[in-house]
């Protein structure tokens, strides 16, 4: 699948004025993420190494690999929370750094408890102001940005609700809104579909894909279930034998590769209407 947006490096998008670090769109490099012989060590143990690949701007990329292979570690490197022990990792044209407002992050789904009394609107607002010290009210521009982010995930009607009473899928939409509110150019999602029902999973995948197209955002999505993504992924990064590798979807969706990846016998079945389906035996 060819992404029509990946060749566009200079796109004119409205910037949100009044935000303390306006994002400069004219400097968007052609590659959103670049790994150059990168390796990571945690506690003296190598998690993965020899990572050399680039992910073009605007693509929908899946990140797959067995439990404990270092998928979350890879996201934390991109977030600047872990420094590569070897090589270089560049995010949006610069070395990965902490607190980069151009990078949005949605962590693994964890249900917020029922009695958590915080309004959805305020929850999303924290994505914009939560890092800010000192007192001071939020500005009209900031409130508008939050309203826009809520609208982008179809959650305008949830604004006044306490997050604790919302369903898992609704809570996840709010986390995506919270990640979108700074107008990021890169969206990192760490298994946001876990414990969601099938319909909510499809809704979240479709939502993220729509946001990617409308906002020219690069998406890196950690998942265990490729089936949901066969129609949307441009590329896959897989962690195999302690090494992150980028490949096209077609290179990865093969029984031999997937069987090695999941350390289980994997087959690819075609339904009568031509749809592929990945299944374990």
């Amino acid at each position: 699948m060819v992404n029509p947006l990946s060749s566009h490096n200079h796109v004119d998008l409205p910037t949100v004025d009044g935000l303390d670090e306006p994002v400069s769109w004219s400097t968007v490099p052609s590659d959103a993420i670049t790994f150059d012989d990168a390796a990571v060590e945690l506690g003296g143990r190598t998690i993965w190494s020899h990572g050399s690949f680039s992910l073009p701007t605007g693509e929908f990329v899946g990140l797959i690999g067995p439990n404990g292979a270092g998928k979350t570690t890879l996201l934390r490197v991109l977030l600047g929370q872990i420094r590569p022990s070897h090589g270089q990792v560049r995010v949006l044209g610069a070395p990965a750094r902490r607190g980069n407002r151009a990078v949005g992050y949605v962590p693994q789904h964890r249900t917020m408890e029922l009695d958590l009394a915080v309004r959805a609107f305020d929850f999303v607002m924290l994505g914009l102001t939560g890092h800010r010290w000192g007192f001071g009210r939020t500005s009209a521009t900031e409130r508008r940005a939050v309203a826009e982010a809520l609208a982008a995930v179809d959650a305008t009607n949830l604004a006044e609700e306490p997050v604790g009473v919302l369903s898992g899928g609704e809570q996840q939409r709010l986390r995506i809104a919270q990640a979108l509110v700074t107008q990021p150019q890169l969206l990192l999602l760490d298994e946001p579909l876990a414990s969601l029902d099938l319909r909510s999973r499809h809704e979240i995948v479709d939502l993220v894909d729509r946001i990617r197209r409308e906002r020219r955002v690069t998406v890196l999505f950690v998942t265990h279930d490729l089936n949901l993504f066969l129609g949307v992924l441009d590329r896959v990064v897989y962690l195999l034998d302690c090494r992150p590798v980028a490949a096209s979807l077609e290179e990865v969706v093969r029984p031999d590769i997937l069987s090695r990846l999941y350390r289980a016998q994997v087959r690819i079945v075609r339904t009568t209407d031509g749809q592929r389906f990945i299944t374990g035996v």
């Binding site: 962590p107 102001t129 010290w133 000192g134 007192f135 306490p162 009473v165 986390r175």
Partner: protein
């Protein structure tokens, strides 16, 4: 007519207040109690949000050893409490995630602290009169110098909270996202334990180590049941706490029973009333969801 402490109120509000405030210990209790209720109400909001209610209980109990130890050493009880509870809080904060699900370890430590307190009780004759005040508090026994200590510590606590308010809220709700946004989540967690230690030590002056829930948790939990807006919840939490303390002071002035009994009872009744008489935040959504249930015929 010169009313004694045990004379009933005249129900002339101005005259009664004049009578009450003509006593130095009542003025001390009024000023310190109000300041402490404000501080506990605000800190308590984050305690409930961060699920630290049990940890607060443990810290307060460990304060028994701190307070009795201070008496044995001849140090100011309040300062001894602050030092001991804050240290215990920082240790708890540093252990952080590793403490999650370690209820038994926390319980064991607080039991040991209580036992240590009982040991200090037995070795010091000075403690006999103070033990009850440490366990159940006595707002009428707050010394003038403690009023100053409480005021200074409250000022520091509230200034720090005003400065860290938003990042602390962010880190309390979702530490992973906050960390990704550059919030120093771990440092904030430890710093909050120091503020919690101060709030607990101050609350012990009013309700003692055993009734800490009354001032620190119940007003904040009541407020969070009633509103999902942070600003309103904090304001409501403070209002409930201050009202509890004032009622305790007045009742304790006229009735021959300890003020902490009235404070705790009132805080409990307000909490119980809010939980049983009001549907709570998000109830409209829960109800409307039920009304539209596909299982309805």
């Amino acid at each position: 007519m010169t009313p004694t402490i045990f004379a009933g109120p005249s129900w002339n509000l101005v005259a009664d207040l004049q009578t009450i405030l003509s006593y130095g210990f009542m003025r001390n209790g009024f000023v310190a109690g109000t300041v402490i209720a404000v501080m506990a109400g605000i800190v308590g909001y984050f305690v409930v949000l961060r699920r630290l209610a049990f940890a607060s209980e443990a810290l307060a109990h460990s304060g028994f050893a701190g307070a009795t130890g201070a008496v044995v050493l001849g140090v100011d009880v309040f300062l001894g409490l602050v030092a001991f509870v804050c240290t215990a809080g920082v240790v708890m904060g540093l252990l952080g995630e590793r403490l999650r699900g370690r209820d038994v370890a926390v319980g064991a430590t607080l039991t040991f602290a209580l036992a240590l307190g009982s040991f200090f009780l037995s070795v010091s004759s000075k403690l006999a009169g103070q033990a009850t005040n440490i366990l159940f508090g006595n707002i009428l026994a707050i010394s003038p110098v403690d009023v100053w200590y409480v005021a200074i510590f409250a000022l520091v606590t509230l200034t720090v909270l005003a400065f860290t308010y938003r990042p602390l809220l962010f880190a309390s709700l979702d530490p992973e996202i906050a960390a990704a946004r550059g919030v120093p989540v771990h440092l904030l967690g430890v710093a909050f334990m120091v503020l919690l230690g101060i709030a607990i030590a101050a609350s012990v002056e009013v309700v003692g180590v055993l009734l800490i829930f009354a001032l620190l948790i119940l007003p904040a939990a009541t407020a969070q049941h009633l509103t999902a807006r942070a600003g309103r919840a904090i304001g409501l939490s403070v209002a409930v706490g201050v009202l509890c303390v004032w009622i305790g002071l007045l009742a304790g002035f006229y009735a021959p029973y300890p003020p902490s009994f009235f404070i705790t009872t009132f805080a409990f009744l307000v909490y119980l009333g809010a939980r049983t008489l009001t549907p709570g935040v998000g109830s409209t959504r829960r109800h409307s969801a039920r009304a539209n249930s596909p299982c309805d015929l």
